[in-house]
Amino acid sequence: MRIGVVTFPGSLDDRDAQRAIRLAGAEPVALWHGTHDLQGVDAIVLPGGFSYGDYLRCGAIAARSPIMAEVISAANSGMPVLGICNGFQILVEAHLLPGGLIRNDHGDFIRRDQRLRVESTDSAWTNGFTVGQEITIPLKNGEGGFIADESTLDRLEGEGLVAFRYLDVNPNGSLRDIAGLRNERGNVVGLMPHPEHAVEPGFGPNTPAAMRSGVDGLTFFTSVIKQSVLS
């Protein structure tokens, strides 16, 4: 399986995402924002970072870059797309996921190993988890507060589109503790925490078992590989 990772001006975790894809057993393909070429990939990751310096709004300019026309079209045709942090913001600005992300309610940038509860496994990127599973994924953002109006929040909950919820602490003021979403079809997932930073023993978050041993993020990538093999 070939999974593309789009690099935008200001992307930071594109190489980490490529590495996570490789560790999970797929072939990472570097994609460039300024082209219209998806290079025949089977799935796409929009990585974290600060595309266009967060100018205008986080993800707003990247969401209108040339390659996003193809990403949006592919996502609407069912191709798996994962948006991580800035990638989640880009998905929201591209209207592939609902709601918005605003500055953290406490005003500070936050970095922590964040516990999450898996709320939905009906997606290309979460099918390897179990519902209710508690995982630890590094989080690092300044504008990660998820908001939407009440009717949208009710719809997201009612249709089971909340993919992840924050546990222990809500790190950014996200409404209803929402950390990540999936779309109705299940091919598009976006979240603020960074699964690509929890894929290799020695470099992941701390766990009760051992320091830096957390590899819960690997399941995002093995999930999409498993789905591609089965489909």
């Binding site: 205008l56 707003a60 929201v92 918005g100 605003i102 309610d105 005003g107 908001i147």
Partner: protein
């Protein structure tokens, strides 16, 4: 050269942490009469030639679609400014 000004504010019901931080600083400086601060954006779009109704309509659409995000922000104003307009120094 005419300028189209677009003003965007965070939605009133949303917390504006940046504005809150500025309000806190003003209070620490003794300006206790200022009860709240909200920070928005002002875009100045410079135009070659005349601003006609069609261009203004296009900018109004851009203001709604790109310069603001309706989930988190409101477009407060789209108006033409230029040399000689009262209140504008440009």
């Amino acid at each position: 050269m005419p300028t189209i000004v677009v003003e965007v504010m965070p939605k009133a019901e949303l917390l504006d942490p940046a504005g809150k931080a500025v309000a806190g600083a003003l209070h620490r400086l003794g300006h206790v009469a200022i009860s709240d601060v909200r920070i928005g954006k002002r875009f100045e779009l410079h135009v070659d030639g005349e601003v006609d109704a069609a261009l203004l309509a296009t900018v109004e659409q851009l203001a709604a679609d790109m310069l603001s995000n309706g989930v988190i922000e409101d477009v407060i104003s789209v108006h033409v400014s230029g040399a000689g307009v009262a209140g504008e120094t440009r």
